[in-house]
């Protein structure tokens, strides 16, 4: 199957971002930031987020990784760069999306540069970035 610029990457959906998973992640990461495990700490901020914990940046990034790996294989990612314009909250349903920008060959390896983002139905794009992947596993 050939890949062309403009091709969409199949969506990857996280149906409900979990506060429990954030707590597990905080323990593994030894992350002291209470925004990830204390709903009262988030509620006390002047941000109007309510009593909902904020997903760790790497977890939001991981949804894009899951999308890319489901599409192009477990070893497909060569580089991923992510920015974080908005927060992901516990209880959110979010969808990882992407589109191929360019396809080229490096050292006999076919690669694709892609735009990737994490989208919320009402709040729009929460994370956005770029990924370079190898298409070898798709050939």
């Amino acid at each position: 199957m050939s890949v062309e610029p403009g091709d969409p990457i199949p969506d990857w959906v996280m149906p409900c971002v979990s506060a429990q998973r954030m707590q597990t992640m905080a323990a593994i990461l030894r992350d002291p930031n209470p925004l990830h495990w204390d709903r009262d700490a988030v509620n006390a901020l002047p941000l109007g987020l309510g009593k909902r914990t904020i997903n760790q940046g790497p977890l939001g990034l991981s949804y894009m990784i899951n999308m890319l790996q489901a599409w192009a294989g477990p070893d497909c990612i060569r580089r991923i760069v992510m920015r974080f314009p908005d927060v992901v909250l516990d209880g959110d349903q979010v969808t990882a999306r992407g589109v191929v920008d360019s396809v080229y060959t490096v050292d006999a390896e076919q690669r694709a540069d892609c735009r990737v983002w994490l989208e919320h139905d009402e709040r729009g794009i929460l994370l956005e970035g770029n990924a370079t992947i190898t298409l070898q596993a798709r050939q």
Binding site: I28, L45, L59, R79, F84
Partner: protein, 151 residues
């Protein structure tokens, strides 16, 4: 952790070039299992580690921690850090029970101001992960903004 005063800009700039001790880190199966479950994915085949480990593996392997990185930049509080970007380059897949060699340093540290004139400090950390045979596995770059008097 709570601090109040905005640190001197020169103290932030002096962080440039700071090197972490460096060291080794091995991802056990239980750790990969839990990490992968947190992402909502299934375990990758043949003992591969989910790339989400490229956040904490470099920190732990280099001999630092989120708490120390907050402290180095004299964060006002644990709530005052904003993420500018994460940049993860992957040269080989990660595997469970492999002892990776990690080095890390601060590659940018400077005082900046928002469009509204509020100061913040932009600090960038870079980590190199190598296999036991010293071949490159990954390079990760974390760029955080240490906000001042914003919360």
């Amino acid at each position: 952790m709570t601090r109040s005063a905005t640190p001197d800009a020169a103290a932030i700039a002096a962080l440039l070039g700071h090197r972490f001790p460096g060291g080794r880190y091995r991802i056990a199966h239980w750790e990969n299992f839990l990490l992968t479950e947190c992402t909502g994915a299934k375990l990758l085949p043949d003992g591969r580690v989910h790339p989400v480990a490229l956040f904490h593996l470099p920190l732990a392997g280099a001999g630092t921690s989120i708490a120390e990185m907050f402290a180095l930049g004299q964060a006002e509080s644990d709530l005052s850090i904003l993420i500018e970007s994460y940049d993860w380059e992957m040269f080989q897949a990660l595997y469970e029970d492999v002892e990776y060699i990690v080095s890390g340093s601060i590659t940018a540290a400077e005082r900046r101001h928002t469009a509204q004139g509020k100061p913040y400090d932009r600090i960038q950390f870079a980590f190199d992960v190598r296999a036991p045979d010293a071949s490159p596995v990954a390079r990760t770059t974390i760029t955080w903004h240490y906000t001042r008097d914003t919360l």
